[in-house]
């Protein structure tokens, strides 16, 4: 699962498309306004729900569309990585990186690297699916 900030990394991924680059097809993208929007809970939820790796990408330091949202992400994500490490999630499954709107090649590379890292670690040990208590009840029909 990749959380890409709208202004830099999502645009970088778009450019990878317009440049007809190629990268592993197992990445799914969630567009967020800013890497600072990525709640550590999202990352945890990803592993809880069976994803094998998580990428969080934002604008380079100083280039943030919102001035400094990416700095918060930079502080948060290593903590999440460390915390999840205690819980048995290998740090290599989480990657936090900068990808600018022009760095299509870098985006493809980051995805390829993470995929490779996750492949070598193997599938994340998945618990049985359980309904998340943080999710609203209207979610139930999705389960059916």
């Amino acid at each position: 699962m990749a959380f890409l900030c709208n202004w830099c990394s999502y645009a970088g991924a778009d450019l990878a498309g317009s440049s007809r680059m190629s990268y592993p097809a197992n990445v799914r993208v969630v567009r967020v306004p800013c890497s600072g929007r990525v709640n550590p809970m999202f990352v945890m939820q990803c592993f809880k729900r069976g994803f094998d790796g998580v990428l969080i990408a934002g604008c380079h330091p100083g280039d943030c569309h919102y001035a400094k949202g990416n700095f918060y992400a930079r502080r948060r994500m290593p903590l999440v990585q460390e915390l999840l490490g205690y819980l048995g999630v290998e740090p290599g499954r989480i990657r936090f990186d900068w990808v600018s709107a022009s760095e299509s090649g870098r985006f493809a590379q980051v995805v390829a690297d993470l995929t490779e890292a996750v492949r070598s670690l193997g599938p994340y040990g998945r618990p049985a699916p359980i309904a998340s208590p943080t999710l609203p009840t209207e979610l139930e029909p999705v389960h059916e």
Partner: protein
């Protein structure tokens, strides 16, 4: 319950070639909340949009997912499309199955599976979409143009002609920019000054335009409609009101300094105007070289001769803070420093000059009054070698791009040389001739046929000095032989580069730069004059090497965009902003700490349980930009970012988790 319509686009063959669109639509029809799914060749076309609107009416849809290209391209299209049916525009989502799928994956099955997943995520997310509304924001109808070259001049004139106030900020003492340095312009051979100076004068006299020369943009804050800009007006040391422009000060000044305007081929004084037609025609004192500043109060000759008493040695830099509704960036380019090329003499051979220096050499108001004389001994050169692509199309020297104008100006130089020195011979070393403009190819042909220029296809490997002339060694790759020319002078068409401070400038404006540090446009084809920061527009070579016609066209385009913005009575606010659930808020105010826009403040609300006031965090909707940093920081999950709520994002994850439960274990 949501009634979602899913519309899968083929994008001609762009998507349909790699993604089985029929299967995506069939799968989508089974996704929770989906009431209708269909596919069509071009969803964004008029018939495609009609199809969407008909389906909304027929199937009583209350929201739609379009699985097509990037939302960065067509989200606004489909928002407008559904707004026509009376739905709230924010009830449309896009699944990016083109840029993120069909264009990057070749295998049809894998790409189709991914497209289904991306569509699934969008259909899950949209179940939590809610109608959003926008408020009105006033616009400050004043424009800032940064850079006073031909791009900035044209943009400023066009905006002022439309009736809006413009401030034109120029770093050097005069507007005019690069074009003022040129002699004649290709392919018509109009003299650059003859077509530029009237525009400069017009700029200076237009009541709608205020020129701030010898000034720089220090800081930009705010956003479209209301940018707050700090401009540093450097101390000119000459009172602009009192100065009559008589010029006696620089006539009498005893200090001679190498002239930037003459590209180092001529001298100027320590108090100077860069060139005689300068606008404003008020000198500045170069404090680095002026005796008064070096020897603490000595000299003062300019002051003695200045009849109106305009010299002010003690003047200080001034910081102006003003609000502008829109900004046009027209900061131009630098040329590559040839001293970095050791094989071409590394800047040590006086008769190896740059294209810009040649412009000054043939210019009748230049350092030699238009006589082509080589710098070393002032003799007329009879054999001149022109080298194209010096540093351009050369990844090893950091410029993988084509500088675009060199082919043409090199041809022009060969022609001007022949006109000034009829018995001279021009050799041009080139990689390819790129003469792609109106009348350009014809111009190059004319130079080859009528001006006896010899074009040699190949690179120059070395230039060195021998017995009073230059030896140019290279290869003719068409004949496959090494060649050597004994030349009197060599002109290098050095690469165009972004300004040295382009990155810093981009940062000030929240823009991005590309890998070569040119400013990045919002879309390479469809939004070439806008950048991703709303309200900022590009003109000229700060974006990419451009010739004068392209620069002027883009400057007028940027001006039209500014005028378009100013013609609206107001702007609509960003609807995707944060809101606090005050009942749940514990007033830790961590959100306030992390907000980059100081949009969160401590407030009081009545607690429904105790009916007493208590502290809460509150979002100032006028200041919130919707980054969501506060949402991720909130300990009690009391802040929601409209359009990017936790629910919406978690549903995206959850939909995939459920669809793939049990796989791969």
């Amino acid at each position: 319950m949501a009634r979602t319509g899913v519309f899968v686009c083929w994008c001609g063959s762009n998507i349909a070639k790699t993604v089985d669109v029929e299967r995506v639509a069939a799968e989508a029809a089974t996704m929770p909340g989906v009431a209708h799914a269909s596919h069509y060749k071009y969803m964004c076309s008029e018939p495609g949009q009609v199809l969407v609107r008909q389906a909304i009416a027929e199937h009583r849809l209350d929201r739609i997912v379009v699985a097509a290209c990037s939302p960065r391209l067509h989200e606004p299209t489909f928002r407008k499309c559904i707004a026509q049916t009376g739905l709230n525009p924010f009830m449309a989502e896009m699944a990016n199955i083109r840029e993120h799928c069909s264009w990057v994956h070749a295998d049809r099955d894998t790409a189709t599976a991914k497209a289904i997943d991306l569509t699934r995520m969008a259909t899950a997310r949209i179940r939590r979409n809610e109608p959003l509304s926008q408020t009105e924001i006033p616009i400050t109808k004043k424009a800032l143009v940064v850079g006073g070259g031909i791009a900035g001049i044209q943009a400023a004139l066009d905006i002022a002609e439309a009736g809006y106030q413009v401030t034109l900020v120029e770093r050097t003492p005069s507007i005019g920019g690069r074009m003022a340095q040129y002699d004649k312009t290709f392919p018509t051979l109009d003299c650059a000054a003859c077509i530029l100076t009237p525009k400069m004068v017009e700029c200076g006299s237009n009541p709608g335009i205020r020129i701030l020369s010898y000034a720089e943009v220090e800081e930009v804050s705010g956003f479209v409609g209301n940018f707050e800009v700090k401009i540093r007006r450097r101390a000119r040391s000459v009172d602009m009101e009192k100065c009559t422009g008589c010029g006696i000060c620089y006539e009498k000044c005893p200090v001679k300094v190498s002239s930037e305007f003459e590209a180092g081929l001529g001298k100027r004084k320590a108090i100077y105007v860069p060139f005689p037609q300068a606008v404003p025609n008020v000198p500045v004192i170069d404090r680095e070289h002026c005796t008064y500043y070096i020897k603490k109060g000595r000299c003062r000759i300019c002051e003695k001769f200045c009849a109106p008493g305009a010299i002010q040695f003690e003047e200080q830099d001034e910081i102006l803070t003003e609000t502008f509704g829109a900004i046009v960036m027209a900061t131009g380019f630098d040329t590559w420093d040839q001293s970095k090329l050791g094989e071409y003499g590394g800047g040590q051979l006086p008769d190896v000059i740059s294209g810009l220096q040649f412009e000054r050499l043939v210019n009748s108001s230049g350092p030699t009054s238009g006589k082509v004389l080589r710098p070393s001994d002032g003799r007329e050169p009879k054999t001149v070698v022109f080298v194209a692509c010096v540093g351009s199309r050369d990844p090893a020297h950091g410029h993988p791009y084509c500088s675009k104008v060199c082919c043409m100006y090199t041809a022009k130089h060969a022609l001007l040389l022949k006109e000034k020195v009829p018995d001279a011979k021009a050799y041009i070393f080139y990689m390819d001739i790129r003469a792609n403009g109106k009348g350009y190819e014809e111009f190059v042909q004319r130079v080859v046929e009528r001006y006896d220029a010899t074009y040699v296809r190949g690179r120059v490997s070395r230039i060195y000095s021998l017995d009073g002339h230059l030896v140019v060694k290279g290869a003719d790759t068409l004949l496959g032989i090494p060649v050597e020319v004994q030349a009197d002078m060599v002109v290098l068409a050095t690469a165009m580069e972004p300004r040295a401070d382009a990155k810093e400038m981009a940062r000030k404006l929240g823009m991005s730069t590309d890998q070569d540090l040119w400013f990045t446009e919002a879309h390479p084809k469809l939004r070439p004059v806008e950048v991703l920061t709303a309200g900022v527009f590009l003109a000229g070579a700060c974006q990419y090497p451009k010739d004068i016609p392209d620069t002027v066209a883009q400057a007028s385009g940027a001006a039209a965009k500014v005028v378009d913005l100013f013609s609206k009575p107001h702007l609509l606010s960003e609807p995707m902003i944060a809101g606090v659930d005050e009942q749940n808020c514990v007033a830790c105010l961590l959100c306030k700490e992390v907000c980059p826009f100081t949009a969160i403040e401590a407030a009081e609300a009545i607690d429904p349980a105790t009916r007493k006031p208590r502290a809460v965090a509150r979002v100032n909707e006028g200041l919130c930009h919707g980054c969501g940093t506060c949402v991720a920081a909130c300990r009690s999950a009391s802040i929601r970012l409209r359009g990017f709520s936790d629910d919406q994002i978690l549903l995206q994850l959850e939909s995939l988790a459920l669809a793939h439960a049990g796989e791969g274990d």
